[in-house]
């Protein structure tokens, strides 16, 4: 395995490239989801009556963007337009702010000495944003969606915080670059698999995705998505994919050794690993059932939280010994 070079901060202008890259990753996530939906429709056991609205497959993100951009924007009576728009547009902003601290190979836009906490603060922003997206429409269904997300957040946030702290404890630093450097001999996924799994589950949860998408559940007419159409819906859906992509990208420096890998340059390895994690997170949607937030609370606090604390204990003992 080649030696990992230290992370260097590049000019702030590269933030544009980071945004484009995040857009491409989010689009490929949406495209992969479209392919899975297409396969389910054509090859699956579904009765013919369910096969309405065929998926566009890999072209889904383009087709959906074109469709939603031409669609009229819905407004509702006495909507809190300000908070609604902040919530809808904010998800992409939160994802963009997350990727500023994620190194691509050895380049990073912002080499913050508290990069891990920065990522954490941005995912907490999502609490407020999703709730505002639910509140703003002045509609019962979307408000219930917003409340569901906060209830779910109370269950996933503490395990997520400890899952983020675990690599930082092993590296002895909150700087993402130091966490990557600390994995030069052994990737953290080996010593802290539990923290990795909890981190991935939490990314799915703060992206309102798959088993944790009850805030946008079909039982409440789409919840936070119930009243949004046109460009608003596009921003909200794109924000979810962007959050998934940013979360998957953050797993790479934290647990998967950053850009380390044979043959390919380190930036390419970062992208390959990100796409692999993103693909798994996207696919989870069709494998696991929806979890109600009120049922999530007990296992999250009774089982997951003590388990992740044990994980930190083990990692702390390992790093004290070495």
């Amino acid at each position: 395995m080649p030696m990992i070079e230290p992370v260097v901060q590049v000019s702030p202008l590269w933030v544009v490239a980071a945004a484009v890259l995040l857009g491409i990753l989010a689009m490929s996530g949406a495209a992969f989801n479209g392919v899975l939906a297409r396969r389910e429709q054509t090859g699956g056991p579904l009765p013919a009556t369910v096969r309405t609205g065929r998926s566009a497959g890999a072209l889904t993100p383009l087709v959906e963007t074109a469709r939603l951009l031409r669609q009229r924007r819905r407004s509702s009576i006495a909507a809190d337009a300000l908070l609604w728009r902040i919530g809808i547009g904010g998800l992409i902003v939160a994802a963009l702010l997350m990727v500023t601290v994620i190194p691509l190979g050895r380049w990073t836009v912002a080499d913050l000495n508290v990069g891990v906490v920065w990522f954490n603060a941005m995912d907490v922003m999502v609490w407020a944003l999703v709730w505002m997206a639910g509140w703003g429409a002045n509609s019962a269904h979307s408000l219930i969606g917003g409340y569901r997300f906060l209830a779910q957040a109370l269950s996933y946030e503490l395990p997520l915080m400890f899952a983020l702290i675990t690599p930082a404890v092993a590296a002895g630093s909150l700087r993402v670059g130091d966490v990557v450097a600390a994995q030069s001999s052994l990737w953290f996924i080996v010593t802290m698999p539990v923290a990795f799994l909890i981190f991935c589950a939490s990314v799915v949860a703060f992206s309102v995705w798959g088993p944790f998408s009850s805030a946008a559940g079909s039982d409440i007419a789409g919840g936070i998505l119930a009243e949004v159409s046109g460009v608003d819906r596009l921003l909200l859906l794109a924000g979810r994919y962007a959050l998934l992509a940013a979360g998957a990208a953050f797993a790479v420096p934290m647990f998967l050794g950053g850009g380390a890998g044979p043959v390919l340059p380190d930036w390419a390895w970062t992208l390959v690993k990100t796409l692999l994690v993103l693909g798994v997170l996207i696919a989870v949607r069709r494998r696991l059932p929806l979890i109600r937030p009120d049922r999530l609370a007990v296992p999250a606090w009774m089982i997951v939280l003590p388990v992740v604390l044990l994980q930190i204990l083990v990692v702390s003992l390992l790093s004290v010994r070495s």
Binding site: D80, L83, L112, V114, V117, A121, M132, W135, D294
Partner: protein
């Protein structure tokens, strides 16, 4: 130069959004106006190179305000929290109290003989601040904080999650675990 501009900008945002809390007519907007004010204060802390304290302030305050908004709306009773409403009550008394506190605090800030800087800031400002605040009690606080957290988790684990109408996770609270039929037969 940049620091001064950023400081004044953030200070104005913090004060204006703090005032907006009492001017807006909805609980949700009041809550998030307060959140904006706190985020601006957190960003001011970043200007002092207190990176950890600044980011953690933003994190904690966003989390707190998101939860507080729900409780504010919930405890308003009936449904006025969902309708436009006035954010102020006992106007005269509260105006007097807030004015006198403001005058007192700003007088303190202006009149106090601030010490002039000696030497240069420590490399790790966060650690220096922590040591200045805690000094010899640092180790005690470090130990206590983990014990406190373990206590919270342990008490949740030990608390009886079941009730007479079933498990709390199914939406029931209080009493015994097994549901009983009113005529005593059990089911």
């Amino acid at each position: 130069m940049f620091t001064s501009i950023a400081f004044w900008l953030l200070a104005v945002i913090a004060v204006v959004s703090g005032a907006a809390v009492f001017r807006v007519d909805s609980m949700a907007r009041a809550t998030y106006a307060l959140a904006v004010s706190f985020v601006a204060v957190g960003a001011i802390l970043l200007l002092f190179d207190l990176d950890y304290v600044g980011v953690i302030t933003i994190l904690m305050m966003m989390m707190e305000m998101a939860i507080m908004g729900v409780f504010m709306i919930m405890f308003m009773g009936m449904n006025p929290a969902l309708m436009p409403m006035d954010m102020v009550h006992s106007k005269k008394a509260s105006a007097a109290v807030s004015l006198s506190v403001f005058v007192m605090l700003s007088a303190l800030a202006l009149l106090i003989p601030w010490p002039s800087r000696r030497g240069s800031p420590d490399g790790d400002v966060t650690a220096a601040l922590g040591e200045a605040l805690m000094e010899s009690k640092m180790l005690v606080m470090l130990v206590i904080s983990s014990i406190l957290f373990a206590t919270i988790v342990a008490s949740l684990v030990l608390a009886n999650p079941g009730g007479r109408y079933g498990q709390a996770s199914d939406g029931a609270i209080g009493g015994k675990q097994r549901a009983r039929h009113p005529d005593g037969g059990g089911k």
